[in-house]
Symmetry: C2
Subunit: 146 residues, 2 copies
DNA sequence: ATAATTGCAAAGTCTTTGCAGTTTG
DNA sequence: CAAACTGCAAAGACTTTGCAATTAT
């Protein structure tokens, strides 16, 4: 239920900003909202949507994502190598990526208290936790490797 | 003085690992060691070195950087969009990148205490501070923008 | 000598752009 | 109908790979 509402909210917002709601855009937004980890790359999104919309162009996906970012409902993060991941805004968490196996852990915002305070005090820098990409080794790789 | 020693240390290590020390490699290592912010992209490195070594190929730079990473003296970090930055290991700091103007702030390791502890406790995840790329807004852009 | 490195060119990945045709509001 | 969206193809940024010629050890 909540998902359906969210979908409509996003599309409505798009319309209000002078954008148009098309079958493709509806499908893109739905796919993002339903993506398992709540984050997905443009390429994965394209591949997935091609199953039902065979001639969807990558450029269309990128432009739709841009449009969503511009109205502020979507954000992207660069998780180390490879493609950026997109996720809806308001999900206040950072990503921690294992540089060995690529596993992604979502880190709740409240762990950033100290860092946020220190950076603001020392550098006047305001961190955006949802953009943050931490890097390190996950449990599995720590125990397996050494 | 210290820079010269460091250069020779690196080159010696390279030799010990079966690598060869060439004019090009010496120039690459020197340029990294002398790079103003202690981090530089492969492309910037190539452009800079081309001034004195006109037909240095990008691939040579990339391969040299790879070789240095493999012997453990160099690391790279993806700072959001664009090219990865390389820096010598042992510089225990993270980077905070302003997503408005691209400015980079170096964040000393000790600010990561809480985050490191929490991530280890909650997820078993071990963060590598020197790989971390924080994102947010720098002082200038905070005051200028809004 | 022989194994590593080099330059060049081609290819690969992710993303952006130009354009003519189609669709939405 | 006008403005926005679409697919396609081409280009762009960054990086990797193959190969024959060169060079360090």
């Amino acid at each position: 239920m909540r998902t359906i509402n969210r979908l409509d909210q996003v599309l409505e917002l798009l319309r209000r900003h002078g954008g148009r709601v098309t079958t493709t855009r509806r499908a893109v937004v739905r796919a993002i909202l339903e993506s398992p980890e709540h984050h997905i790359t443009a390429i994965a999104l394209t591949d997935q949507l091609r199953l039902t919309h065979p001639d969807l162009a990558p450029s269309t996906v990128y432009r739709t994502l841009d449009a969503l970012c511009e109205i502020g409902v979507l954000e992207h993060t660069h998780l180390g190598h490879g493609a950026a991941v997109f996720h809806m805004t308001g999900e206040r968490h950072a990503h921690a990526v294992c540089h060995v196996c690529g596993a992604v852990v979502q880190v709740p915002d409240h762990h950033f208290g100290e860092l946020r305070r220190d950076l603001a005090a020392e550098f006047g820098f305001e961190i955006a936790p949802e953009h943050v990409a931490l890097s390190g080794r996950c449990v599995r790789c720590r125990t397996t490797e050494s």
